[in-house]
Amino acid sequence: MGRTVLIVDDQSEFRLLARELLEADGFVVVGEAGDVQGALGAARDLRPDVVLLDVRLPDGSGVDAARTMQTGPAPPVVVLTSTADYTDEARQCGATGFIPKGLLSGPVLRAVLEAA
């Protein structure tokens, strides 16, 4: 079974396409969330292996949400996504990596995870 993924983004079209791209590459998307609160709840309830987390969310910053997720007993692997460059921010908030949204695909995500 592939690694489970939680996709967090306020754009439903992005979530849909990301799900199909990742699932086409063997990942198992176990849930989606559109904001920070939903993301934190889903991460707690679904316990995914990977959280694909958008930096800019309607109710807060994905960077802050990543920090919060790292404080739990079994923190997931978090990969930030954004249209802007948040490589350094990802490093500082404990995220495994950063993927520009336009480059997202199963192989890219896998490469980021393997590089960590």
Binding site: R56, S61, A84, D85, T87, D88, K101
Partner: protein, 585 residues
Amino acid sequence: MKPAPRLPWLPWLLVAVGITWAWLATRQQQRAGRPLTFLVSDVVPGLVMIAAGLLIRSRRPQNRCWWLLVAASFAWYVGDFEHSTNDDVVLGAFAFGGWYGLFLGWAVPAFPSGRLQHHRDKVLVAALFALLAARSVSRVFLHVRPDFAGYGVENRFLPISDDRWWRMVEDVFAWGYAATMLGLLVSVADRWLRSSRPGRRMVSPALSAATALAAAVAYEYAIGWNADVPVATGLPIYYVVWWAYAAVALALVIGLLRLRGTRSAVVDLVAELGHDAPPARLGDALGRALGDASLTLLPWSAAAESYVDDRARPVQLPVDQPNRAITRIERRGGPVAALVHDIALLEDPGLVNAIVAAVRLTVDNEQLQAEIETQLAEVAASRSRIVAAGDAERRRIERDLHDGAQQRLVTIALALRLAETRLDGDASPRVRAVLSQAVQDLGDAIDELRNLARGIHPAILSESGLGAAIESLVSRSPLPVRLDIDLADEPSSAIAAAAYFAVSEALTNVVKHANAQDVTVRAVASDGMIRVEVIDDGDGGANAHGGSGLRGVADRVASVGGTLRLHSPAAGGTRVEVELPCALS
């Protein structure tokens, strides 16, 4: 402006009459065979008195001293007519020959205003009048010829052969006159002691001359009079007394002219005010310039509807204070301030005008300064609002780009990539190539749009703060950059934007123009200020006014109360220093 004297022909008439009068008097003395020294000592003091009187009139038409001196001048020559061939004239001269003493004795305590300020002076002048009147009456009705001096006329009104009464009146007059003169001297000296510097400057010459006069008169009447003094000794005493009278008249003029020197001090003060003088300390400055330590400037408070002291407490203007005067300063019909000062200053209208002008100038300066400061504050606030509004608009545009065009392009890129993965294995290689190229081009477009959005407003600045935004800038720089960041608290968005764009512009310039090998970016917060520096070891020679980049940054920095300094000597590297307040005031 000095008011034009009324009756402009009067001085010329008085000069003509005075000279004629002096000439006639001198003729009487010549007839008596007086020596030249006597004639000069007799005629010159009278001319000095009339000249001094007319000079005072030309300067101060309202000053009563002038006519006292002119009257003293005409009275001066009356005694000379004792040598007339007409007995009636001789009697008149004998009886009324000493009245010039009244006018001079009046003028000295009345100086400089021409009015007797103190009761004691009025008493002394009245005593002078009474003494002279008693002597005149005595000489007309009680005189017995020949007297001890061998001159005079027959008493033709009363059949008196005993000269005891006449002698008694003459003795009383002599001692009383000398005592009264000494009393006037003491009064003037007392006034001198109580005066401020400008008052003393005016009174000092009169005091000196009056001292000499009183001493001479005292000697003349207390020692020389009725004594068996030889003519060779007696005449020089008369000469001294006469010249002392002339000196008194001259001293009054000198005193008035000396006050003009004080005006130049005020002129200097006005010049000083034009440069740097705190309006609140104007009273002290005026006091120093005028030498009047007791001078008080009481500004008018519109709120309190009263004059106020230096602690803004309402005060009543003092009234009926000896030797003090109040000058009210108005502007456009409204009160501005009141000046409580030595009454002597009123003797120079030009000086008072200069003081009033100085106060008005200061008040105008103060109001102008307040208006300018208010306008500057409004301009600064307006500029901050404009920059803040611009930043808000940039953030909105950046967010629109992010939420709109960028998201659409990202979605399309993902869709194309998904389509690429779902192509069947037998898809045309050309289709695969076109699709791959489209994904590639779309990625480039997204990058360009991202850079554009970052230039408009870096999202990371809003979302992660100044430190992260500067790190992001540095990480994208093609040159190796040493970074030193120590920011305890996140500044306000306007301050953060100013610091960020300063670093961004400076780094861009380094990459484009500096040919630098070593670059350092430093952002440190301390003592309520954020100091941002971008230092390189490149070519230098940068000019803050050369292009719009650094100038725009400087404007932005200034809009939030910061400063930008550029040190860029040729071949000496470049240092851009920006200092910003941590919070907007």
